[in-house]
């Protein structure tokens, strides 16, 4: 008898099949890794276990008994707890308040009641090696601490089956190791732990058994001891992975961008960028590796003119930038693929032409005497859409109806079209499937071939390592290491990302 058994699960969203007759089992006292690429259907599977989705067909058995999980509440009652990728925490409530949120007992909650609860929660957290301040509001906690709150929340509610969705994507390697220790403690307690991930290293480090999913189907389930990273990678991607993209070697040209001791203020008097220096030469891809929240966002924003800087110099194409101006950046030839394309890159309710016009509508080709050249722009838009192979029902279709990959193609069409010298690309492949990711990588490589530069900011270390001529590691608002293509090593980068190799002189 398995602790968890999911049989022939089918899940459809409209016409899209997210899970296609998937079978999955996990035992008690086991750490089970559910491995797959983004969009392979792992999270969907787990969300059915935690009651967020209901399966279109198929059945779920817990401890051998068939169950119906209709809501997260049902799931909690059955002992299923899930730590979502986007934490389900109320930012303004304290850690303890978040943990007791779902508790039904005791209407009155005076200071005493709360103190007792805080003590209880602290005890539970320490037992599993999880430390965080229980009485501080969530928004004051670090991302790692917030994740611990989430884990304690599931434990507090008595979960026997604990699911973690991509738990390490927000952690430093050190924090990740700590998390793995906690998972092992849970295993020792006889709990079933399921971890979804696409990172092979972690799977090999922590899992007992591994299930690999690809494109909504279950490919294989094996014991860790019977497999290795190469095989897992092959199962996951469906073909041998190329560790590095074949970029033709070329000598980079003149220095295009020179950033010197840049300082950018963050909230509460902290510094988001703290004396950051870097330089980019024409025709090279420079990757920025780092754990989220170490200044990547601000670096991209300051280069594209969105936020001002306090100290330091930026020199682009031989000319110093004086103040933050988005228009100035656009006109200087800096293009921007923002982090969240629907949030800040595209206007979802507008059509394709309007979205393509974003940066060029001021030019004489697109507008004359203050009036847009409508017919001409439409033809131009049509050409771009064809050139970049954007699949759309029509040129006036609101872009929110396009798929993620096509939205990203549209965005690249716009950003590449106005012939940039430098492209700042932030998480350019986030949420894209394998094919679309490949397409984006090809576009970036093509830019490089055309002697343009790319600053690639990505949380996906593999992506950074595959594409970059040089890798800069960012930590605490400054560049702490620089590694050339070929000399990059995951472990070393990981150490720098965690801020463990602090000394700068060693780094540069």
């Amino acid at each position: 008898m398995h602790a968890i058994e999911m049989r022939r699960i089918v899940k459809q969203f409209g016409d899209v099949v997210a899970n296609d007759h998937v079978d999955f089992t996990a035992g008690a006292g086991e750490i089970h890794a559910l491995l797959g690429e983004n969009g392979a259907g792992k999270s969907t599977m787990m969300c059915m276990l935690s009651g967020v989705y209901r399966p279109t067909s198929g059945e779920i058995l817990l401890r051998g008994e068939q169950v119906r999980i209709r809501s997260p509440k049902d799931a909690a009652k059955l002992g299923v707890g899930m730590v979502y990728q986007n934490f389900r925490l109320v930012a303004t409530l304290t850690a303890a308040e978040n943990i007791v949120l779902g508790e039904r007992s005791s209407f009155w909650r005076g200071p005493n009641w709360m103190k007792n609860k805080q003590r209880e929660i602290k005890g539970l957290a320490e037992k599993f090696g999880l430390a965080f301040p229980v009485d501080r509001p969530i928004w004051q906690l670090s991302v790692g601490e917030q994740q611990r709150v989430e884990i304690v929340k599931t434990l507090y509610r008595g979960a026997q089956f604990i699911i973690l969705d991509e738990p390490t994507s927000v952690l430093t390697p050190g924090e990740a190791d700590q998390l793995f220790e906690t998972l092992r403690t849970m295993r020792a307690e006889g709990k079933t732990v399921i971890v979804t991930t696409h990172k092979l290293k972690e799977v090999m480090a922590v899992a007992d058994r591994i299930s690999v999913m690809r494109k909504g189907k279950m490919i294989h389930t094996i014991d860790k001891k019977d497999t290795n990273e190469r095989e897992l990678a092959r199962l996951m991607v469906g073909k041998e992975v190329v560790a590095q993209r074949d970029l033709p070697a070329r000598t980079p040209g003149r220095t295009l961008l020179e950033v010197n001791r840049l300082e950018v203020a963050a909230e509460h008097g902290r510094k988001a960028l703290d004396g950051l220096s870097l330089s980019i030469r024409a025709g090279e891809i420079v990757g920025i590796a780092g754990v989220a929240g170490n200044g990547q966002k601000e670096l991209a924003e300051v280069l594209t003119g969105l936020i001002p800087w306090r100290r330091g110099q930026i020199e682009f194409d031989g000319k110093p930038l004086r103040n933050a101006s988005v228009r100035g950046a656009i006109e200087a030839g800096i293009s921007h693929v923002p982090e969240n394309r629907m949030k800040s890159g595209l206007a979802g309710s507008l059509g394709l032409v309007d979205n393509l016009l974003f940066k060029s509508y001021r030019s004489a080709d697109r507008a004359r005497l203050g009036f847009l050249r409508i017919g001409r722009n439409k033809a131009w838009g049509q050409r771009l859409v064809e050139e970049f192979d954007v699949r759309t029902p029509g040129i006036d279709t609101p872009v929110q109806q396009l798929s993620g990959g096509n939205q990203q193609k549209l965005l690249f069409a716009r950003e590449i079209h106005h012939d940039p010298k430098l492209m700042v690309a932030v998480h350019p492949t986030q949420g894209l499937d394998v094919g679309a990711t490949e397409g984006v990588h090809r576009l970036l490589a093509k830019l490089r071939a055309e002697d343009k530069s790319v600053l690639l900011i990505s949380e996906d270390l593999d992506e950074v390592m595959q594409l970059s001529d040089r890798i800069l590691v960012i930590f605490g608002g400054r560049i702490v290491a620089e590694l050339g293509r070929g000399e990059a090593d995951r472990e070393i980068i990981g150490m720098y990302m965690a801020g463990l190799h602090g000394a700068e002189e060693e780094a540069i």
């Binding site: 049989r7 022939r8 089918v10 459809q12 016409d15 899209v16 099949v17 296609d20 007759h21 998937v22 079978d23 067909s57 059945e59 189907k217 279950m218 490919i219 294989h220 389930t221 594209t304 003119g305 969105l306 101006s325 988005v326 228009r327 950046a329 656009i330 921007h336 923002p338 949030k343 800040s344 890159g345 595209l346 206007a347 979802g348 309710s349 507008l350 309007d354 016009l357 974003f358 940066k359 509508y361 001021r362 507008a367 203050g370 009036f371 847009l372 409508i374 609101p398 929110q400 109806q401």
Partner: protein
């Protein structure tokens, strides 16, 4: 529906025979929901009339009779139609102002106050420069009114852009300030000494009066309104500036990434929005009442909100709904003769807005049969 393909890599047991299920329905929201069938709007108006009919019936009247009388009063005679158009002028001008602000999600509900200060400023010209000839006075009144309305609009826009103050509260507070300002002048320094204590300024002379169109009460303000709506239509659809507004309205974050200075646009839009309402105020005093007086607006600024909403910010829609609501106001007056308060038209307006909003949302829902 794409066919689900069977057979996963490791089949365990044969699938269970499908159970019989009763048909059930579920309601879905269409994420990109842009579909909005044409009949939603008339149906919303009809339902609003039904709701108000209940209140009319509660007052002991036959709703059908009342509505018939209102329609007849507003559109049944050339006098009625003229009156309706006269009311439609300020509604259209204010409505354009409101609509242009709504385009970038600025909720200007201060058109009433902007209208009033426009009227006050136009009157100030007649008080301060009484002897100017017509080609001097009228343009000066227009400039004063637009400037005053525009400044009133800026008083809302500046707190919004630089102090993160919700423009709804500010613009509404300023409406009351404007009312008090107007009251001060017509009860105080500008009161007509020969007016038997009537709270109003002396009547304007011919040079201060907008020319009438033909022999009717219709005045030159109609030309202002038509020019404004044509410009509005051109601006939002065909110009760079209109494109920028469209972008800000659709996604301000993205607009920022496109290098569009949002704050400056908000200030400019509120300047224009207020200026248009101010112009409406000028047209009203100079073209209709020929003096500034207490209670000069029957709530044009508020009705303009509904005008803009009904029109969905579309220029032609604005014209149609301005006329419709002008008729509603006139109809409201005409049922006073059978003992109903004219505020009946305000009630109907509010109800129409309600049902329009609800109707607009129904368009996004789908009823689906569970498979």
């Amino acid at each position: 529906m794409s066919k689900i393909q069977a057979a996963s890599a490791l089949p365990l047991e044969p699938a269970e025979a499908p159970r019989r299920r009763r048909f059930s329905y579920r309601i879905e929201i269409d994420p990109s929901g842009t579909r909005n069938p044409w009949w939603i709007t008339p149906l919303s108006i009809l339902l609003a009339l039904v709701l108000c009919g209940i209140f009319i019936a509660a007052n002991g009247m036959n709703p059908m009779t009342v509505y018939a009388k209102m329609i007849k009063g507003a559109f049944g005679s050339s006098f009625g139609i003229t009156e309706t158009l006269v009311k439609a002028i300020p509604l259209l001008l204010c409505g354009i102002g409101v609509a242009i602000a709504y385009r970038i999600s600025v909720w200007n509900i201060g058109a009433e106050g902007q209208f009033l200060v426009g009227a006050v400023a136009a009157t100030a010209v007649t008080i301060w420069f009484p002897a100017l000839p017509i080609y001097g006075t009228i343009p000066l009144m227009v400039v004063f009114a637009i400037a005053a309305g525009g400044i009133w609009g800026l008083l809302t826009a500046i707190p919004r852009t630089y102090f993160q103050v919700n423009e709804l509260v500010t613009s509404l507070m300023l409406n009351y300030v404007a009312i008090l300002l107007l009251d001060y002048f017509v009860f105080g320094p500008w009161k007509d000494p020969k007016g038997f204590n009537f709270p109003g300024t002396p009547m304007f002379n011919d040079a201060q009066t907008l020319p009438a169109l033909g022999d009717t009460r219709l005045h030159f303000g109609l030309v202002f309104a038509i020019v404004a709506v044509v410009l509005y239509g051109l601006l939002v659809k065909y110009t760079k500036w209109g494109y920028e507004l469209r972008l800000i309205g659709a996604n301000p974050e993205a607009a920022k990434n496109a290098g569009i200075p949002i704050k400056r646009h908000i200030l400019l839009v509120m300047l224009i929005s207020g200026g248009l309402a101010g112009l409406a105020g000028m047209a009203e005093v100079s073209g209709v009442s020929h003096r500034l007086m207490y209670g000069i607006s029957p709530g044009y600024g508020y009705t303009a909100i509904i005008v803009a909403w009904l029109a969905k910010l579309n220029p032609i829609g604005l014209v149609v709904s301005a006329v419709l609501f002008g008729g509603l106001i006139v109809g409201g007056y005409s049922v006073q003769t059978i003992g109903l308060p004219s505020s009946i038209s305000n009630m109907i307006q509010g109800a129409i807005l309600f049902f329009l909003i609800a109707g607009g949302m129904f368009g996004k829902f789908r009823l689906r049969r569970n498979a």
